[in-house]
């Protein structure tokens, strides 16, 4: 059962005590973090239920809380996955999606099945350091998504096999010369 009241309570406690400003002892800061994490855990169930209801499909929804440091075990290890984007605004938005991945070539399709331009960029060394070995991803997949007002879009991502093309005649000559 999804429940947002745990997070509401944790947020209320945190705001009342200025929790984010550091004006508390370290062990109290740890307790605030624990309360917020527990609140977000139960909110994830709530969001999963809401998305299942909106989509008419019950999926195994995964929330990657460390996307900002390129950590998401599902996307980094899967050859096929869905990216579901929910827009809480009353106007449509274009959103730049960055997904941690470990392959080289991917195909992204929008909700209508049309291919979407995408790019793969390497994860920076700094991100590797700050993720402290949690990052299974070597790169990030980037694409632009469009999300309707107060609604969601589902993009599917497929990892493509890298086909080694036969050498051209010029490349053969170069190889032989080397």
């Amino acid at each position: 059962k999804g429940d947002s009241s745990t997070l509401k309570r944790a947020m209320a406690v945190a705001q009342h005590h200025d929790a984010v400003s550091g004006t508390e002892k370290q062990h109290v800061a740890n307790d605030y973090a624990r309360r917020l994490a527990a609140g977000w855990d139960s909110c994830q169930v709530l969001i999963s239920n809401a998305l299942a209801s909106l989509m008419g499909r019950k999926e195994h929804f995964v929330f990657c809380n460390l996307l900002n440091i390129s950590v998401c075990p599902l996307t980094a290890t899967s050859s096929r996955f869905l990216v579901i984007l929910y827009n809480p605004l009353v106007r449509s938005v274009r959103w730049n999606v960055r997904v941690p991945i470990s392959g080289l070539v991917y195909e992204v399709t929008d909700p209508r099945g049309q291919k979407v331009p995408s790019e793969v960029v390497p994860v920076s060394n700094f991100t590797r350091v700050v993720s402290r070995g949690q990052a299974l991803a070597s790169s990030e997949l980037i694409f632009q998504a469009s999300v309707p007002p107060l609604g969601f879009s589902t993009y599917s991502v497929d990892k493509l096999a890298v086909v080694r093309l036969p050498r051209t005649r010029a490349q053969q000559e170069l190889h032989r010369a080397k």
Partner: protein, 284 residues
């Protein structure tokens, strides 16, 4: 010798070929060019002095001098140039880095900074700022928001309703920045959207600064009883990653841009993943 640059349909950003720092931003739609230098600095946190025993701490920001120290005068840069996104990676030190990013179609410049763990081996508490220097004639005025609602005009070394005796030249001019801060002259406005509440100020004409992180060695005697050391999960201090979004435009149209973008930042799209292959679901 060719200056590094990134560009989309709306903005062009140039980097100094000697220092690797941002040196100029151009708004291509309005033909606006603003020389700008952005760098990270640190204020040395006060442990108390002859004027007052007050140390910088969790409640109190009190640097022991008005001049911040640059974390690096020149940075190592690395350019990633693609069709959808162009990024310049700037490495300021082993604990401070930044990605300067432009997505296709985007009307703002994104600065994604990573700061920490702040080193304290030298026994100096440090308050880290991102600092922007421009030639804008701002007349000591800058603007900060109040919880994303009313934008308030701030005047250096001044208060609107009483005669101020300024005793803290830096901290006394710092104001809360809940979502945005800007400076402007008669024509041009430089706006920075933050992704979290920070302290900010404009201490010199045309400058703008935001405090992004701090790590302190002394308690400020306001009740916590511990210095703001931020051990974090690994006992070495916290690493913070955040974003600043920069808008450069005419004064007249800037609000249209930063207000709409702020909505997208603070009511952000929720991203959820799924391996797929789910089953049909009905509410009943």
């Amino acid at each position: 010798a060719v200056p590094l640059q990134i560009q989309n349909e709306h903005l062009r950003v140039l980097f100094d070929s000697d220092t690797g720092l941002i040196s100029e931003i151009q708004n291509l739609d309005r033909d606006i060019t603003l020389p700008i230098t952005q760098n990270f600095y640190w204020y040395n946190a006060s442990s108390g002095n002859g004027a007052s025993s007050q140390a910088s701490g969790a409640y109190i920001f009190r640097p022991n001098g008005s001049e911040p120290f640059p974390i690096a005068k020149a940075v190592h840069t690395h350019l990633v140039q693609n069709t959808l996104v162009q990024e310049v990676y700037q490495n300021f030190s082993s604990w401070c880095s930044q990605v300067v990013r432009l997505y296709v179609g985007q009307r703002f410049l994104e600065l994604e900074w990573t700061v920490g763990p702040i080193p304290i081996d030298d026994n100096y508490g440090k308050e880290i700022i991102s600092h922007f220097k421009t030639p804008l004639e701002t007349g000591g005025l800058f603007y900060t928001d109040a919880n994303g609602r009313e934008i308030l005009e701030r005047r250096k070394d001044s208060r609107e309703t009483w005669k101020l005796n300024q005793t803290e030249p830096v901290a006394g001019n710092y104001y809360p920045v809940n979502s945005r801060i800007y400076i402007k002259d008669k024509r041009i406005q430089l706006t920075v959207l933050t992704d979290r509440s920070q302290g900010g100020s404009s201490l010199l004409n045309g400058s703008l600064e935001l405090m992004v992180h701090r790590r302190l060695l002394f308690d400020d005697q306001r009740g916590v009883g511990e210095p703001l050391l931020e051990f974090g999960e690994h006992g070495k201090g916290l690493v913070i990653r955040g974003r600043h979004l920069l808008f450069l435009d005419n004064v007249e149209v800037s609000a249209d841009l930063h207000r709409l973008q702020a909505q997208e930042e603070f009511m952000a799209v929720q991203t959820v993943f799924s391996p797929g292959g789910g089953s049909p679901y009905q509410k009943k």
